[in-house]
Amino acid sequence: MGGGRYTVLFPTTLLCVPGPSSVKEAVKSQRPVNLDLRTIKLPITAYTSILHRVSGVILFIGIAVLLFALDTSLASEEGFARVKMYLSSPLVKLIVWGLLSALLYHLVAGVRHLIMDTGHGETLEGGKQGSKIVLIVSAVLILLTGVWVW
């Protein structure tokens, strides 16, 4: 590096390396920056919202499972017995319970969405309260469904 002489005399010139100006700006910026997502606490409304999306995608994939069960169980007496047999396996019970959980959560949160679309519960407090109700109601339904499936 040919500039040693100058850096000794003018330490600040160290910053003057050629490069994107945004780097210099970021270094100079006084804004507090938090890029660590693990330390950002999400509000309860963010959880109920993203769960609604996740459960929607699970349901989209789950349509295949539901149609398969419907197809087999309606095709014949034997098919019906086969679906009943599948349903006695713990793994299948778990999958069915998972799908029903996604359905119930999506349904409860979806009904709340529709209620909010009519203009009810749209304040910050109402939003938090609604989210809590959605989580509690769907948790109860999901537990009951677990009991029912097993």
Binding site: V57, F60, L67, S73, L107, G110
Partner: protein, 122 residues
């Protein structure tokens, strides 16, 4: 007005409404179906097939099938336009998003045809 060539109806407001109307149909259908299963614990094949082959139930099932097709298309489309963006994927975003939407559309169409075959088979 913002228009888009890949959404369901070329109008965001119509898509929004279609998703809500289909949601109500699906909610009614699934509550009815789960209710039926809960009150018929020891179900046998004859009851089950009889339940689905009734004319009203056929209409209801077909309606739910149409509703889920519309609902899932609008839903998956929304998700694809939220995440598969130039900001996330750079210059290939449009191609990736289009392929994702095409895959969802083909899957949903296959589900629809399969559902019709099931309902007409009994």
């Amino acid at each position: 007005m913002v228009t888009n060539v890949t959404n369901f109806s070329r109008s965001g407001l119509f898509d929004w409404m279609a998703q809500r109307v289909s949601a109500v149909v699906l909610a009614a259908y699934f509550i009815f179906l789960l209710g039926y299963l809960v009150v018929h614990p020891g179900l046998n094949y004859a009851q089950w097939a009889g339940f689905f082959s009734g004319n009203l139930m056929r209409i209801f099932s077909l309606l739910a099938l149409v509703a889920v097709s519309v609902h899932a298309w609008v839903g998956m489309w929304t998700i694809s336009t939220d995440y598969l963006t130039p900001m996330a994927l750079g210059k290939y975003a449009t191609v990736v998003r289009f392929l994702f939407q095409a895959a969802c559309g083909i899957a949903m169409f296959a589900f629809f045809v399969w559902g019709v075959q099931i309902l007409w088979g009994i």
